[in-house]
Symmetry: C2
Subunit: 313 residues, 2 copies
């Protein structure tokens, strides 16, 4: 069984109140793959330039991730993003975006990537997501991310690709923007009417919510004393979430609400490791044995029982 991800491989320059990195491995597909590789064999599809270092390719290949479809564009430069976070990490300013090899990217999937049971379309231009979706006809579960830019300038193809997937994973405010709904519950319902059977709203430091036609689930972010760099947290979350589904399908388990809830918890736990250090540093050396304690803690800090205090009339 396998899980294919199509998206950006990047170099990031990031400055947070806790330090900076001038050039570190990043990109949505990178963060996704590092998390999802705990669950299934990941095939990464995306372009890099001549400048992409062998040691970064080795990081990408952590836990057996297949990098055969990472296209090295001769004479090209790897996608570059530079950003700076505010003191409380709530805001970030993009200082520089260089599309580089992404400007002319045409996804070419090997037969192995096309044959994956599960597909994740990371945030790239919707027309490319459609191309990839059509190439992966065998996929049993397809999830996608997107961003406010495409809602604003490419709404028609974005709505088309949303209609071709099983699961939309998007920031809560973007879901509200996409649907023009006044709150998340209504917004999620409208997305479910567009095609997907599962909607996941990422709420940043507040956690995430999942919606299906007849149920929903809410989980907080894993509380941390120290958050060093939020870059890639959403893609790491997606990697844990979609990875769980891929592993369940591979094991012949049903993708029911119980499985989806657990997938949300694993996504949350993996994202919490991601933000503890810059870029991919923490998740690249994360071991499977470190994860269950966070799942158990997340369960503990969200559990309650009715206190049974009598109510007055």
């Amino acid at each position: 069984m396998a899980l294919t991800v199509v998206g950006s491989l990047a170099y990031d320059a990031v400055e947070t109140p806790f330090g900076k990195r001038d050039r570190m491995l990043g990109g949505a597909a990178t963060h996704f793959a590092l998390a999802a590789s705990f669950f299934d064999t990941v095939h990464v599809v995306g372009p890099v330039g001549d400048d992409f270092a062998d040691e970064d390719m080795a990081v990408l290949a952590t836990r057996g991730t297949n990098v055969d479809d990472v296209e090295r564009v001769a004479g090209g430069k790897t996608f570059f993003w530079a950003g700076r976070y505010s003191a409380n990490l709530n805001q970030r300013d993009t200082l520089d975006t260089q599309l580089n090899v992404f400007e002319t990217f045409e996804p070419k999937l090997s037969d192995a990537s096309k044959a994956a049971e599960v597909l994740f379309l990371a945030n790239i231009v919707p027309d490319l997501q459609i191309q990839v979706r059509e190439q992966c006809a065998a996929a049993k579960f397809v999830a996608m991310d997107s961003m406010n830019l495409w809602i604003e300038i490419a709404r028609e193809p974005l709505e088309r690709v949303i209609g071709m997937v099983d699961c939309l994973i998007l920031n809560d405010e973007e879901i509200e923007q996409l649907t023009e709904a006044p709150n998340l519950v209504q917004a999620a319902r409208r997305v479910l009417e567009m095609g997907p059977s599962v909607v996941v709203a990422k709420q940043g430091k507040y956690g995430a919510a999942l919606f299906t036609a007849d149920d929903h689930f809410w989980v907080p972010a894993f509380p941390l004393e120290t958050v060093v760099d939020p870059t890639g947290a959403g893609d790491t979350f997606a990697g844990g979430f979609v990875g769980t589904i891929a592993a369940a399908l591979a094991a012949g388990r049903p993708i029911d609400m119980g499985l989806l809830r657990g997938a949300m918890a694993y996504g949350t736990a993996l994202a919490s490791f991601n933000v503890e250090e810059f870029g991919t540093e923490r998740v690249a050396r994360l071991t499977p044995g470190e994860i269950p304690a966070r799942i158990a803690e997340l369960q503990r800090i969200t559990s309650f029982t009715d206190h049974g205090v009598a109510l007055r009339h």
Copy 2:
């Protein structure tokens, strides 16, 4: 047993995307009392003007709330606030604030109010909170709210009153502002060092978090299809939370983490009713029988188990 609340009684003019009210009953003490009255006898302390209508006093007295210490100031006008919410209710602009009788308010507590086992200091100027706290020497559990204005212009007395209470209930961003901490976990820890043994961070539409010296708990807001007016949600939450503690003390139950978690759930459930209609409209006619279903639903939509999918190395 009894629960005393000191704070504002007001008339509010509110405009949301779903309608408007030119003059409706409001104020922190009002919203708090309506929620807390499900749990214990509430004594309300606060000033109103000649213009305060008898029917509004009757609403305040719902479920046996004692209004003997509502001071009617001859020739005075009731506190007035006017605000307008944005399309998604995420932002609100204050259009008008008239302190009126609050400008010269000096809290005068009857012996009955002073004798309460539990005290809630709603958001008023910190010096008045200190005065009231000192008058209620018998209180076994004291909670307080505040706001960004006092952090900015009255930090010293604010820190003093925080040192005199058991529980601070404040918006998450205000807790971060107060402590100048980079995230909520660190911020809550610093508040715990200032005196309180319990810190509750209100996160608006995202829910709330509770911190003690050695534990924490996170609950989402109760998801609603329709939110009409968020005014008073935080005070309604506080009423359900502090009310639970008052009822537990009255019943001789320990205020342990299990009780506090349940109290968070009841605060959340009550706040969810509050926002379904304008001002006090919904909670004033809420019946005890409607509440448990929301507690059960909140429990259901936050529960998960480890999915047991094997992790790869």
